[in-house]
Symmetry: C2
Subunit: 404 residues, 2 copies
């Protein structure tokens, strides 16, 4: 029997570590012969674009490079599998590819959209009495999947954010005049990553002075008051803001801005919330202000991965192989965290239906009453996830990446 793996959705710095975990465990599992990689997610299965990962991973060094290369080495897709009633053909195409290559287990590494694919496919095989197992391996920097303590890829994003925000804090305080720096952080609907910036407090930093999440209400007026109040206490104010914060009426604050601005071409200006708040502060408070969008570096800065995250991402992949071989299907592998300290997570299999198309929000009880910061419980939750550094293989002063 052979197996196949694919990657889907937005990249992370640790998604290839999960593939490396699947590959390593499968290599030593009796009964598994070939380990296929499907190019560009499930589309590779549908279109018959498979590679034999064995052809690319020949040495320990190759495997190490795969673990530490950012982005999806197999490519990705945004394809959402339609219900079988709507398009039976695509399911037959997938089945035909699996049969042709004698694939008995399929691993899909992705977020909640990908878990929907895992759910539908496993259901289809089950209903048609086809013995092909489908297992989901979680992955997202958003940390918004249900039934798991946290998601692979999140810890590395949070570590990059913490390290960068601390450096921005140093940079922002060199001149002897009041200034505000607004840092825009990824997370359209869930504020986990933005909230994780609170870990700087563990290093004695006061930054970020203000933290705004999509889970808390936001108004320009309250925001300006918050900033004014912080400027009374500090010369340098750092604001961490989620790209997805919402104003009172539920619309994205950034969209309110977009609808008001035309660019040189007469189109609505597609700017982020950071630029919006920068302009707001400049006009209403008038102090020195700057906005910084951390952009895709949050999900691909593998030169600053969390060792905890990379190790766990590898492990959850390898545990997925064990679970499938033990007969599981329609499951997502998940982390269960031991209560208290020291930090320890075990890997378990959960029903993928409880995860697919659902979203785990940042807990409201960890948001302060003013809605502009998070509580110390959040630090205890986040801090273990960013621990440890990995020695990155370098060449010519730059990391070495593997390309399949």
């Amino acid at each position: 029997m052979n197996i196949a793996a694919a990657q889907s959705g937005g990249p992370t710095s640790a998604i290839n570590a999960s593939l490396a975990g699947i590959f390593s465990e499968a290599k030593m599992t009796e009964g598994i012969d070939r380990i296929y990689g499907s190019l560009n997610g499930i589309e590779g299965i549908i279109n018959g674009n498979l590679i034999d990962i064995n052809d690319f991973i020949k040495t320990n060094y190759d495997l190490e490079l795969m673990k530490l290369t950012p982005s999806t080495v197999l490519g990705s897709c945004r394809y959402k599998l339609p219900p079988v009633e709507e398009n039976k053909e695509v399911y037959e195409k997938i089945l035909s590819c699996f049969k042709k290559h004698d694939i008995g287990i399929f691993f899909y590494i992705g977020g909640n959209d990908s878990m929907d694919t895992v759910s539908k496919l496993s259901e289809y095989f089950r209903e048609n009495n086809i013995d092909i197992k489908v297992i989901g391996i979680p992955k997202t920097i958003d940390n918004d999947l249900k039934c798991t303590d946290h998601t692979p890829g999140f810890g590395s994003a949070a570590k990059y954010l913490a390290v960068t925000l601390q450096e921005i804090t140093r940079d922002s305080s060199v001149y002897n005049l009041p200034s505000v720096t607004v840092v825009e952080i990824m997370g359209r609907d869930a504020g986990w990553l933005t909230a994780s910036s609170c870990v700087l407090r563990a290093n004695g930093e006061e930054s970020p002075h203000l933290i705004y999440l999509p889970e808390a209400s936001f108004t320009d007026e309250k925001f300006l008051n918050d900033v004014r109040s912080e400027l009374d206490k500090n010369n340098t104010v750092i604001v961490a803001v989620s790209e997805g914060i919402k104003s009172d009426n539920g619309s994205y604050a950034a969209e309110a801005f977009q609808s008001g601005a035309d660019d040189a071409f007469g189109h609505k200006y597609l700017s982020g919330i950071g630029k919006y708040l920068e302009t707001l502060i400049r006009n209403e408070i008038g102090c020195k202000v700057r906005s910084i969008e951390l952009n895709v570096m949050q999900r691909c800065a593998s030169h600053m991965v969390s060792k905890t995250d990379v190790d766990e991402s590898f492990r959850i992949g390898s545990e997925g192989v064990k679970a499938a071989v033990a007969g599981n299907t329609g499951k997502m592998m998940a982390f269960r965290r031991m209560k208290g300290l020291p930090y320890f997570c075990s890997v378990t299999a959960v029903d993928v239906k409880d995860v697919a198309n659902k979203e785990k929000k940042f807990p409201s009880e960890w948001i302060n009453s003013e809605g502009n910061n998070v509580t110390d419980e959040a630090i205890d939750y986040f801090l273990p996830l960013i621990q440890g550094e990995v020695s990155i293989p370098m060449q010519n002063g730059m990391p070495v990446h593997i390309k399949l």
Copy 2:
């Protein structure tokens, strides 16, 4: 006799390494007692805000932290010393501070504005037969100072850029559709940092496919043709663009955009060239496009410093002490590079007048004839400057920074 040091202009990841070099050499120099730090550049001298650096650097670990803390530990300023004819009083204030603290040597770590201060101050002391030496220590991520092969701080900025651009390149190529990513890089008038992105070629990357510098002419039409032509050859096109590129008539291309766009408040929209080119591509070519502004991380990402840069920045500080003790004044310390390989730089003292208020442009002979990339000679120049990694002291998963 005591000495004083100050830092000025924009921060870098290596500016504190130069201060550490001055401190270390001065500590072991007979005849030097106290080592003062002036807070917020020359303003600290004018206002009498001095600290004794000995009070903060007690251990080897403290010194290591200072070397690797980004931004200016002494704070910075943008103050430009007026000519003595215009404001004699400020010179007398400075002299009075130096006399009060028995300061016989003053080190100013900064860019070409700071070298102007070094020039004026040393001239004033010389003309008035006052035995106070003034020495400039170069620093800028722009690499635009004359009389030196390169500037301290530049190598680390270039390394951060190279590492990040390589990661962005991975991230940009996950989906199976044509896309353009425009990366906006610091450098208002000189394109050194943007040009340094060519080092990715040494790692076998084709990215960046296009490189635009302020030193080459730029038109929207030619740019769109360049992008179209690259899209014919590649699915993923990465463009490195200096924030300061100029259009045909010499104005900043970005300003052309700013003048056309109003924000929600009716103000001119202060956006960068990256956003401008993103919008241009979206409207004129219509493919998937994204722009990324690397922002202040280019000058403060000390978690990814170049060991070569940090070591050299330390050394140029310590050589400055030796030069001053040997009787030099009105000099800037500079690097002279040995021709060919292996890479080696010696430190020399040059007349600060040849540096002050001048600017070294990226050589036109290293720009290709199309004006959209650089030649292999540039790779040979840049590559040695980004070599080597430094082990960063960590705590709670984040770097440890020192605060004076």
